[in-house]
Amino acid sequence: MELNVLGQDEAGHAAGGGCSAGSCGSSDDQLAHLPEHIREKVHNHPCYSEEAHHYFARMHVAVAPACNIQCHYCNRKYDCANESRPGVVSELLDPLQAVKKVKAVAATIPQMTVLGIAGPGDPLANPQRTFETFRMLSEQAPDIKLCVSTNGLALPDCVDELARHNIDHVTITINCVDPDIGAEIYPWIYWNNKRVRGRKAAKILIERQQKGLEMLVERGILVKVNSVLIPGVNDQHLKEVSRIVKAKGAFLHNVMPLIAEAEHGTFYGVMGQRSPEPEELQDLQDACAGDMNMMRHCRQCRADAVGLLGEDRGDEFTLDRIETMDIDYEAAMVKRAAIHAAIKEELDERAAKKARLATPAGPRLVGVADKHHRPVLMAVATSGGGLVNQHFGHAREFLVYEASPAGVRFIGHRKVEQYCVGNDSCGDKESALSGSILALRGCEAVLCSKIGFEPWGELEAAGIQPNGEHAMEPIEEAVLAVYQEMIAGGRLDASPERTAEQCLMA
């Protein structure tokens, strides 16, 4: 069996399939074209490498509360422990507390490789608090990568300082390059000691973002661009944004869906602006992929998130708790290095295996599948490590993959309510399960390590085939195996006119 992960090699591109361009693939492969020195920088960064995000953890410290702009998807009043989205934190830290927390987390979760400052305001609108934190960390915890995200307004003034602190990753949120569109997203900015509004404000912000991007690239600092997809506002425009930021040297573009609920109290939430559907996001990511490496595994995490992407262990590291921890960071660094080396070895082994499987001598999917077999979406329950290794009922999110005659590619994730917490106090099981089934719409199979009798029946009734036969197998291999089983079972012949796209519409 050939394990052909899209975007990995030229054969994968030539085979075509559901995407228009070679760089639309997933995982480490999206980075495959990058120069070696850049790949070396991102191979263990969970936010930059789809493959790494199964293995390595990240954390954010909330040291940057102030902001210098207003975005229509943000409400600075909001602070809720149960909400997981950018801009939300439970506890603000000063730089000393932040450093203590980082060391506590790094010692407890040795897979943690990256510390980011992402708010809850704009990190560069809090230069003293942000850079004091970076300065102490680069001295006291030199094995941790530092990164920062910003709206870009203050960026040109901070580039030299960022370079001094050895920060080699910066994320800029760029939602537009057209001030008329910007005026619909940003009501005001604080600029040169004045509140500036409307188109004029958007024009300044856009110029500063673009200048900051250019300055970072000049200095060899890696730039990822985040964009919020706002249907009817910037959805079509983001293709141009993608083209421009790539031309200027950004190495990754992350288009995220707008989060807008009235209860968040944001402009968009209250005014009824809708969020995009998963398929709209996927279509736009595919459309941009011709010009840019697209990131598809972003979880839009909180500004104080801790752990693997998709999980948040922040509750284990509250100020009260870290006060009681006694951290020997020298010892922790030794342990961390050993664990990082072991993960790297596992990743190298996987890469070597993939390369072996992709050689012409190996058995090929081609021959079993012909190009007429339609692509199929499958959901996977995983708790990390790149394996099918989570119980259906324990999953808080599912990763969605597309299998097609061209191979397997990662599409994105779908969040669900956990319907089973392993005791009798499960709450409203029924509605959570039907919520999960709704979240998995468009998928024809769900791969997990185990699944209960009741959800099995309901999934089947909803046209989603549960599959627990590939427990502990690598995800892409398992998805491909299920696809082959579907082909062999004639499932993909039965309704050749029913494409995956049509399933999504149903």
């Binding site: 210098n68 600075r76 305001g121 604080y190 944001t266």
Partner: protein
């Protein structure tokens, strides 16, 4: 004369960093402006700096007691629309 911060303040620190008179400091529940130190930015800036960066409508009062940023002026959400949304949420 001085500006005043009221309890709708969310403690975001933005005003502290831009005050030219170092008149603002953290309080028990929200930031406070020292009436002795506040100059209303007279002689320093054309606009009062705390009021120009504050993201919360109504959180800063001018010397005459009126809000520096009245409802709807920062978010663009018409106050009646916000009230309607809040009623709808509470009715759920």
């Amino acid at each position: 004369m001085a500006l005043r911060i009221v309890d709708s303040c969310v403690n975001c620190w933005a005003c502290v960093d831009v005050c030219p008179s170092e008149a603002i400091s953290p309080g028990a529940t929200h930031f406070r402006i020292s009436a002795h130190k506040c100059t209303e930015c007279d002689g320093d800036y054309a606009e009062q700096q705390c009021a120009s960066i504050c993201p919360i409508e109504g959180a800063i009062l001018l010397a005459d007691g009126s809000p520096a940023n009245p409802a709807g002026s920062l978010t663009g959400i018409p106050p009646e629309r916000l009230a309607e949304a809040m009623r709808a949420i509470q009715a759920r």
